[in-house]
Symmetry: C2
Amino acid sequence: MTFIKTPTKGMRDLLPSDMELREYVLNLLKDTYKSFGFTLVSTPSLEHIENLTGRNGGDNEKLIFKVLKRGEKLDINNISDPDDLVDSGLRYDLTVPLTRFYANNMNLLPKPFRALQIGNVWRAEKNQKGRFREFMQCDLDILGEKSNIAEIELISAVITFLKKLDFKGFTIRINDRRILEGIMNSINFPVEKREQILIELDKLDKIGIDGVKEELLNLELDSNSINKFLDAFNGNVTLESFSNTFNLDESIISNLKEIMDTSKELTNSNIVFDPTLVRGMGYYTGPIFEIGVEDVGFSIGGGGRYDKLVEKFINAPTPAVGFSVGFERLTLILSERGFKVPSNKEKIAYLISDDADKKEVFKKAMLDRESNKIVKIVNKSKNFKFQAEELEKEGYIIK
Amino acid sequence: MTFIKTPTKGMRDLLPSDMELREYVLNLLKDTYKSFGFTLVSTPSLEHIENLTGRNGGDNEKLIFKVLKRGEKLDINNISDPDDLVDSGLRYDLTVPLTRFYANNMNLLPKPFRALQIGNVWRAEKNQKGRFREFMQCDLDILGEKSNIAEIELISAVITFLKKLDFKGFTIRINDRRILEGIMNSINFPVEKREQILIELDKLDKIGIDGVKEELLNLELDSNSINKFLDAFNGNVTLESFSNTFNLDESIISNLKEIMDTSKELTNSNIVFDPTLVRGMGYYTGPIFEIGVEDVGFSIGGGGRYDKLVEKFINAPTPAVGFSVGFERLTLILSERGFKVPSNKEKIAYLISDDADKKEVFKKAMLDRESNKIVKIVNKSKNFKFQAEELEKEGYIIK
């Protein structure tokens, strides 16, 4: 007994019941998204460390699991910085790898390209209930589509999927990064502070308007400008009032209206313009959105347009929109709701003792399996009664 | 353009056509193995470094991707050994993690437990055609079953799966680690050299009998004993002749005979006793086997009994047998054979121009998807003819 039987810190073992639910949800998800023309792709779990630390992952970049160089490349006698020791890291999301993938393979892919990615990502976060250091993400992305067909199709696909899991009462909050930029422009906030200003605004629902104000004062912004900025998000704001007050570009407003209007009709959801919606990642360039459902206190998915990310890999302007549902959150909610995975296959357990004619039992079992049954053959134990009870709990009929 | 668009060394991007084949094979595999009562489980990609370097992984332990410690635990000023820098590593197989999983969760699992694992593993191997540093493994294991029901069910399950992919002409080579041990015993090879002797014997098909002899001489073994040992594998050996020559335990022989006999009848395969079969891993304790198929020059799966591994985690003797098909090999063979994934869904592409009534098209598309069609909506491009051709190549009907 020299080994450690618990999983590595912040990670977890998934039991058969966990996996059954996850597989059910994933199959529904794949079927639904495929019906929207999305096709699966996959990228390596490890990415070049350069790609992971290029300031596109926001705070996630602080949480990278870094992988030690190997062989002669690892020189522990000449280290000035821990980063001298590493050449790759575990991906912290699926978006950065997807843009690398697209840049690397675009000549082999349809244009526009509808990508479905299902894969694990890793973040060395502090221990927290319901948060894991390895978790699954399911991302939908449309690359190479400049029109809002991309946003509308993504929202429709995700809501169609969620409805199949009996989620109800959808609220889609929507904003456009260019609106936030337009407001900061009209207030003359210094360009170099804008990324940080948005990070502070993003904390609104956690620390309230006074909290945000304090953080903005810490950025040494003019107090009048801060008040003007925060007033913008106070009270009953509409897309129209915003547009008038801040003299925003008409095409941005009409684009957003069309997305909202069409998505509302297609998905029968509540679509709300929310100018305080920021979303953390630095790479968003246009419409951004988040989905909430009835009786759940947090958003269960979100996404947005990131038209400039592929260009970091190749000289080919590539519009792109992505949407990710929180797969771990979804399955957690379902399991807390006592969701039962539908199952209709008959399950049979053959118990055989050491001296029985095994061959005949094996043959019967093979025939049962061919006729769509689930069959286990088990060595009959001394405590037969207990054994039978346990098998019946699993849903097996004893033969 | 500051980013690197190629995958990290030795790893690969999987395109939609790759993923389509992989998904098809995985779905068949899951369905088949589930019909044998196996249930999916999953373990973290990262394992405690202690568990990975405990001499159960054979040469694979040299190939571990090690993960840098984080935060205060990483002290680059006091390193005497690169291992001071790491606390975990990417798993190099699924067997070590499974035994940890079983030790950690056995009270929540049926006994015996039939586990199906599908997951990536990582090995920093030298670049070689068809070998990747991240690849998928599909492992079947039965834990807690001491009888040969385990071996027979595993062999049956794997052959049933392979038949569904139209593989033919199966040859199952089979041996028992205790037979090899018995031979080495009768020859009086020193106990401490036996692990290494088996590693050399395992090279027989690569370096021939003279090559193995040379390696064994390097181990400073008595030359007469070496000749006696190697003679054992020369010529027409049968389980019976072996048993007589080396006075092997009758229960080991009859157990192996029953496995061979029953598997032959159940799977209609060629079952061959092969005393030179070793299989690399140090943890095997009983029957071991490998599967070959017609027209393929390497084995496409293998496994064996490892009754002592779980005990490295907990004081609970736990018999165990595992079987793994080479998923990457399988999909490579299928794609070289031009295997086409069956598909019967109608695919429709709606091309719409910027000024069209989008909403109506979106609504039609939603209805099509409800009636089991695959539908993409695409912005009509200036070069419409080329766009239509490309969509038709993908199998879409243009509307």
